[in-house]
Symmetry: C2
Subunit: 341 residues, 2 copies
Amino acid sequence: MTSAPGKGSRPSPMLFFETIRSLQSAFALKAAVEVDVFTAIAKNQGSVEEIAKSCGASERGTRILCDSLTALGFLNKSNNTYSLTPDSAMFLDSRSPAYMGKAVRFMMHRDQFHNFEHLTDTVRTGKPHGSTHLAPEDPIWLEFARGMAPLMFPAAQAIAQYLQKALAGESAPRVLDIAASHGMFGITIAQQNPRAQIYALDWGNVLLVAEENSRKMGVADRHHLIPGSAFDAELGNSYDAVLVTNFLHHFSPATNESLLKRFFAAMNPGAKLVILEFVPNDDRVTPPPAALFSLIMLANTDEGDAYTFSQLSRMCSNAGFRDTQLLPLEASPNMLVVATR
Amino acid sequence: MTSAPGKGSRPSPMLFFETIRSLQSAFALKAAVEVDVFTAIAKNQGSVEEIAKSCGASERGTRILCDSLTALGFLNKSNNTYSLTPDSAMFLDSRSPAYMGKAVRFMMHRDQFHNFEHLTDTVRTGKPHGSTHLAPEDPIWLEFARGMAPLMFPAAQAIAQYLQKALAGESAPRVLDIAASHGMFGITIAQQNPRAQIYALDWGNVLLVAEENSRKMGVADRHHLIPGSAFDAELGNSYDAVLVTNFLHHFSPATNESLLKRFFAAMNPGAKLVILEFVPNDDRVTPPPAALFSLIMLANTDEGDAYTFSQLSRMCSNAGFRDTQLLPLEASPNMLVVATR
């Protein structure tokens, strides 16, 4: 009854406890990002007293937080002095170009979190407890746009490289970026292809973030804005590629087929549909990061899900696309699904 | 930038994402216990449809929950049929004598959880955002008493075995059980030693649970109740052992020394003090389950902590005790610290 996991075959309650306790780890990480303890340590490699002073935090809180972050693998501790791990130095020092700390604004947003707090009700009813965040200009997508762009860097690079090859024959490819958010998928294409014209569609409030990013990245003159909903905005036409990133998981297969038909109608023959998604295997339980994404869709949407490649492939072919393919991304929980108009 | 953890030396953001995502796993487990999906599967080994029907839950919610529990290691899935792992069969089937599901009532209690939601403020101030649950008859300790008893079984056995040897010379040992809660520590001693007399101290509302347990276990005639606070209740005297389980972590070292002096005064010479605690190593960051307990005390108490053996040993000797020893428990996050009056 008391043996540790993996130590022989006696049942152990450790997974149960560790799974519950991990709730606390998530909040410790959020607090660490919010008081910016990683940057303070990067600057000082300090003692509790120095870190607390730099963060404007209490010594008790700083000591227990830093010890906990060490136990969780985010810090090293030696002679009562804390230092960053290579991962934390790259992704959690707010001065790093790869800083990801802002992702807590979206990933641990109070609304998402409160929907999870009522997950029992949601399992019973099949419907989220609170908002699905799909109403026009819901402010949570501003947090997504502001916080999640750095996470999308590897996928954005992969999409741009794929289209660089696939659209090699187009002298000035027109790319429609659906639910563009931070805009980084289209912007990365524009950076790699100096003749590409990007049309970014999203709510008007969110497009301000994409617009700012396109200016920062020096591609604003080829980055056009289409404020509105993917369901009823005027999309334009003659696109050579349509990007549908982190979007289809919010809706049912039937809804997605309708959407894909709209996009199909706006595309040139031979144009490429590029879907970025969490794609579990057909067993729907592996790999865990993709499989567990469905839980977020259960908590937050009426009909959304993490779709398998078989399901996405069927949606694409029902919408008229051909040659649907699955392209894994290196060490990302996401995959690309591409199809041809 | 995109390599998986442990795969070469390139920095990876996976620990960051997994730590945030684990929040969702904790709520999935809570929902699974609350809709009692494990018991439904134990009875039926069923399909989504059968489990949903048995739990009175939606098929969408049941499907995504069961797939997530499989991805997390709590279930097996084969041919679209779910079954329990050996761990889940032992600890999460509500018909099992070792059932631990009720622990979510305390471990994921809304109040604890809301204190963690404000952990950033607590790191800044060093003080909990909400209640410390130390006022008389705070109802959260009823949830502790009702939910946590099964978790204490291994430690209760270990304490009873230790005292069976240590008090072998006493014909009718008198045992004071401080903050007795469910009462299982004293009750287990009474079961193993038919002449032991147990005095259980706790808030009156909580002692009702201990009283019920002592009746169920057939030791009510030797299980006496002392309603009140360990700080000012009339303790009685001439005790041969005092149990201080899961208690000292709520308070400062100075407060604990005062408490231990009170207990000392109520004990016979040669009597045993038995402390059950989360005891991190002197580095305060290993082993993780003990080290991370300090985070719970940061979130929920004004001055509490997970104390090292050096710290506990000093508190004991400052209170007059001698021969303080650390006794690890087999595969438990807790340890025993024993000392002699």
